[in-house]
Subunit: 201 residues, 2 copies
Amino acid sequence: MSERSDVASTRRRILEASLDLFGTRGVDGVSLDDIAAVVGVRKQTVLYWFASKDDLVVAALAIAAEQLAVVIEAAVRAAPDDPLDRVDAVVCAVFRPAVRRPALLGLIREVSRLPTAQADALATGIQPLIERATSYLRAEMAAGRLRQGDPALIAALAYATLTGIATEPETLRAVGWIPSAAGLRRLRDELRRYLAAALRP
Amino acid sequence: MSERSDVASTRRRILEASLDLFGTRGVDGVSLDDIAAVVGVRKQTVLYWFASKDDLVVAALAIAAEQLAVVIEAAVRAAPDDPLDRVDAVVCAVFRPAVRRPALLGLIREVSRLPTAQADALATGIQPLIERATSYLRAEMAAGRLRQGDPALIAALAYATLTGIATEPETLRAVGWIPSAAGLRRLRDELRRYLAAALRP
DNA sequence: GCACGTCTCTACCATCTGGTAGAGACGTGC
DNA sequence: GCACGTCTCTACCAGATGGTAGAGACGTGC
């Protein structure tokens, strides 16, 4: 059966489905059968491509990290050299996929609270992203192009807020606040304004 | 056996343990046996006090909402009449328990992504808290004591940031950023500064 | 002494879970 | 024609899970 594999390889589709399901419903809340059903395949096929559920989790996290890295990379390249513009561009660039696909940042959170073994996977995919951001901020602060401050603090705040906005719409919807597209855009702009105010030298 | 019940009723201790476990590891990631073990009791005792796991989840969410309500209530009463001071007081008041006990806000998130039935429980405990905050902001904006804006936007951003800070330390720790007490305090102050800047008329 | 509330005990159940085993089907490229 | 990669099928397994059933133990208050 290769009709489906032509469109997108089964392996890839299992990974994408796992990213979405694990990232939104949690690793414990999703069975291999659930994933197989979404892909339109049998559980054995999932286990044909990935030796175990743990392996699948790690692999899904890896493609999430990769997709985030690509988005950030593109934003940085396209942005002007000014560090404030760059930070702004990265926030905007990450915001869109993060909101459209809450599982992207959600999966990071899910993995990070797993029993220690799998959490190590964060070190390979995600940690470099965070470290790159903080070291960039540190360098620009040292050069006087950004206000002096704790780069880790800024990065952590931006990350926490982004993750909160990306993964809480479910909550806020359940609680009566309907996050419209326009509302989310304004949330993004608030965050941008806030970071600009905190970083402008 | 009432030696233990004297200290704190078994029912209450089951509820508190459920709040912590469900809120940090997720409803699906915690079994009734896990909760019983933490409390030092048998699974049958848990099911003696709560008809089902679903009931326990709903009850745990209820006490989380109540504890948040108490904290907010006290902060509002103790704060001066100025709305900026009040917002600041509420943020500070919620921040401390939210960071010390990530499960408080974490449980809200966990419940909100459950199959629809239990998510209705959010309407009784949490929704009133959010609505009260937004209606307060709206009233003060209308009175010109706060800058005009979308109250839901501000409430949502504060909520998302607070939840992010409260529940992401695990992630950030896994990723190399160690959230010290001082670091968390500075995160809180950043949020306060931002809200003050956004709300000052 | 008795009823009651609280909790434990043994024992059980159906269901779901991750995972295994092995055979076979189908299409492709050589 | 053959090997290979991909995927399905039937069938199974051990363990964990939510939940049930019923008897009994212990202490308290009446």
